[in-house]
Symmetry: C2
Amino acid sequence: MARPRISVFIATSLDGFIATEAGGIEWLSTVEDEHGEDYGYGEFIADVDALVMGRKTYDMVAGFDPWPFEGKRVVVLSHRDLGPAPDGVERYEGPLALLVARLGDEGTRRIYLDGGEAIRQGLAEDMVDDMTLSRVPVMLGKGRPLFGPDVPYGRWQLLGSRHYPTGLVQATYRRLD
Amino acid sequence: MARPRISVFIATSLDGFIATEAGGIEWLSTVEDEHGEDYGYGEFIADVDALVMGRKTYDMVAGFDPWPFEGKRVVVLSHRDLGPAPDGVERYEGPLALLVARLGDEGTRRIYLDGGEAIRQGLAEDMVDDMTLSRVPVMLGKGRPLFGPDVPYGRWQLLGSRHYPTGLVQATYRRLD
C-alpha cells in the first residue's frame, strides 16, 4: 500500500505558541466566529482517516465532550497506559515510520498529525507532507511552541493563504522534495 | 508634538526566526524575486522618518554597500561606541520612551523599529503601533527568534494579508488599545 499522506492542521499565536505554559487554549476563542466559520476544519477532518497525536494532546482532547473524533481511528503516541478511552483510540509505542507504514497497510489514506510533540517528530523525520498553519492575532509571550530545535532546515511550497474577518491568517504549505 | 507612530516591518522563517544562530540571513534569498518585487518595503521606508535599531542589527546593516538608509535618521540603541558611521547615524543609551518622545519633539512622524532586540523592547513597553510580518516559506529549526518571553500578552487587529508567487505571506497588524 502507498504511504499515507501526513497532514498538519493547527493554529498558533502570532509568536508561534499552540498553548499557554499551563496548556491553556482559551485565547483561541478570540477567533471563534459568530457565523460558525470553521476555517476549513470540517472539510479537512472529513478527508482524514486516522489521527496520530502525542500524549499531552490526547489528555487534553480526551476531556472534550462530545469526543471530537467520533468514527475516526486515533493513535496516541505514549509510553503509558491510556486508561479508559473512547472507541477507536489506541496506544502506540515505537518508531513513527513503522506506525505510518502499518496504518498504510491497513488502508489509511491520510493522517492528521496533531499536537506539538507529534508534529515536531514528524518534521524531524521528514514525514510531513502538508501543513495548514493558522495565525491567531494574539501575542502570548510565553507558552508551548509549535516548532522547536529538532525541526530540520527545509523549504516549503505555499499552496495558498487567506485571511478571515476575525483576523486569522491561514496558509497551507507542501513539503518541497 | 505627537508621539511618532512606531512600525515594525520584518520577515521571519515559518518557525519565527529572523536570522540563523550565527546571524545569517541568506535564507531570505529564497524569496528574492526576479521581477524586483519588494513586498511593499519601498512604500514603507518612504513613509518613515527615522529608524531605531539594536546594536546587532546595526552591525549587520553597517556592512551593507550601499548604506541602505541614506537620507534617514538612524538611532542605534547601544552602550558601546559605534566607531565610524554613515551620515545620519547616532547612538542612544537610555529609555526607549524618552528617545521616542525626543524624536517626536524633533519632528519625527513615523519610526521604523528594526531588529529583534529593539522590537521586543518596543513590544515589552507597549509602544509598537503596527507590525508588517512576512513569513518566508523556510523552516530553520534554530536561530534568533523575533519574539521572546518579555513580549506581553496582547490582541492585535489584522489590517490585511496577501501572499506572493514566491510563497511569502505578509500580514499587517495594528495594536488593539
